[in-house]
Subunit: 440 residues, 2 copies
Amino acid sequence: MLGRNKTGAKAPDQTTQGGEAAPKAAPSRRSLLVAAGAGGLGIAAGALGHAALGAEASSGAQVEDIVPFHGQHQAGIATPMQDRMHIAAFDVTVEGRDELVALLKDWTAAIEHLMKGADVGEFGATGGNYDAPPEDTGEAIGLPASHLSVTVGFGRTLFEDSRGPRFGLQGRIPAALIDLPHFPGDALEEARSGGDLVIQACADDPQVAVHAIRNLARIGFGRARVRWSQIGFGRTSSTSTSQMTPRNLFGFKDGTANLKAEEQKALDTHVWVGGNTGNEAWMNGGTYLVARRIRMHIETWDRTSLGEQETIFGRTKREGAPLSGGTEFSEPDFAMPGRGGPIMPVDSHVALAHPSANGGVQMLRRGFNYTDGSDGLGRLDAGLFFIAFVIDPRTHYVPMQNAMAKNDALVEYLKHTGSGLFAVPPGIAQGQFLGQSLFS
Amino acid sequence: MLGRNKTGAKAPDQTTQGGEAAPKAAPSRRSLLVAAGAGGLGIAAGALGHAALGAEASSGAQVEDIVPFHGQHQAGIATPMQDRMHIAAFDVTVEGRDELVALLKDWTAAIEHLMKGADVGEFGATGGNYDAPPEDTGEAIGLPASHLSVTVGFGRTLFEDSRGPRFGLQGRIPAALIDLPHFPGDALEEARSGGDLVIQACADDPQVAVHAIRNLARIGFGRARVRWSQIGFGRTSSTSTSQMTPRNLFGFKDGTANLKAEEQKALDTHVWVGGNTGNEAWMNGGTYLVARRIRMHIETWDRTSLGEQETIFGRTKREGAPLSGGTEFSEPDFAMPGRGGPIMPVDSHVALAHPSANGGVQMLRRGFNYTDGSDGLGRLDAGLFFIAFVIDPRTHYVPMQNAMAKNDALVEYLKHTGSGLFAVPPGIAQGQFLGQSLFS
């Protein structure tokens, strides 16, 4: 009850505290609660002291659902795919390079806490000063880390916009960070596209992902403004051979041939940037995130026959096997004859997406199903929030998307309403901040 | 590969088949897959035959995550609360009573399948005729039943609208199915309010809930139009003493004192309609669903001090204990003195929501946190989709909401943007359809 009173005094602005609190590890949400449950405040305070001494995580049960933050690459790319996502793009509203670096440091500190299942800040949701706003918003108290991963990327407008270079980053724009071309059939909405920065939060529990984005947005308050955000309720890919291939809202397994975390060599070829020198060396160990909000005309699709649906995908609906036979993971036989042409139609989704049709390129897909209520015509606003990580969008996304937008039998059921391309810097070591290589 | 060809022939309209398929139970999605995995098509067909012979569910693992469909009350009310929700309101676009009954029959048959974890229809997502659209959209193939519950309610406009009575239902409007009054501070949007019918789908897996609403909307195509829909990503209440109280987006445990499924007597007093005769007898065993979309000004809230936040709720943030002391489930002591007044402020949320301030009335809360992207000002559009089940909104919702809207210290952080009130008919026995008592 100490110090609790209804005060009209203006609370100090805490938006810059996330970064300053970095050196001290906040206790995990669950360990605190378990300790409190075991005997009340005294023991909880003991647990706090213990965690504050630098324990990474205090129990085996917790470690299991924590994705490591530090490493060669950022988390949330080749780490096993979680079921839920909240992604947000931000526009930076400060103008100084130092202020941008301070924001990235604050976000880095907070992300490190969040991925451990801890509150952001030194004192978290309920510690510290009763007369100040809590550092953490608190809705994830008691929830496990839930394999939260947070991934940060930079848009082209962070480096330069219509007024010229920004943040002294002239000359540091990677050649691959292009303005994506207009693709046939694009119906992009400005308010769902672009952004100076992107933050992707994925977790097993959507409340944990939403908590992360919300607290990062809060830390950025007055420095970065949310441009768009999207909730994804179900993954549409797997990034590990141990995961079942899920289904998109057309009811099909898509992305069966997705790159997997276990394919280290393929990742080095198709996902991770490496070997750059000079002005692009900062991207070594990084990758590019392509985001496309793809609305599906599900009502139209649902009136299509099962045969037509399978012909369009080139796969069977239940098993996900190519129409040339076998099981889900069988290689399609594009030469096998069918009635009036190959049994795998040349304009089927599988045929157009297959590496053999795209000069051997592959991508790491990490997309999510979404539903955003209904539109004015009583149709569900639902579809795929496509996310892919590629080594270079000029070779690994644009040609395929051009081919698909022109030829894919699926296109008439799709509308691309949002788009973004972001340079994802490499992972970092303890003591560094996300994106540090760009500023050194 | 049989019969698969790219046909231009118009597929027959299958929107009315859900009902006709009712007598035959579709196999559960998981049992089919397990069988198929065990040895291919022959065994899968065997499983189909087995399930079609009337087995309710074929394995213990499945029964565990199935909520029973038949019973005295509809599911999704006093059954244990699931973590995710998709709710949709519909406007009926047909005019005949028989057509409305046919729609309810079709929906009933489909809901029975869905809650078992089965596809809708006789042949489901991938069976039947290759030249016809699949009966089920398929994105839940392989997912367990996930405790799906589907709950149907009727809005006042189903009985009469501005043009007069509808569907021959004059005289059957329950007195409790009022037009909710305008509450202080309401900022309701027409497109998020009202509706002739509501369907609430709750499940452990959001993809299962979305699949249910989508397939029910599809079955209603041409007969009922989605008016609004909402995804909830995290429950904000518990309906069983075995569940932990979750947190809302203010970071607080709310609804600690919620009615629980185990409190049978309290449910009969505060939730279940009973003892009606005459024109309202059809509601016996039913209840009323109050829906309110409550946007939270979370950015403003987040700048409020921890002390102020706890004062506004009347509870501690971490433990959720009343400010008068104890633990989460301790009764608040509204007489305990504090500095300058009672330690539990009279305008605190707990004080105003407590049965002692509301003539002893209680409600069964079953709400969800939501986030619908961000608004034009870069703020997250997030809050609480409030759902409560009450025996009579005139006594169990309107007075409390009036008092809260006028006095609750929380109100300045809230904006009600959507509203609905629905009469939820009782549960049904095998062979009946949802809402049957209204039409007999």
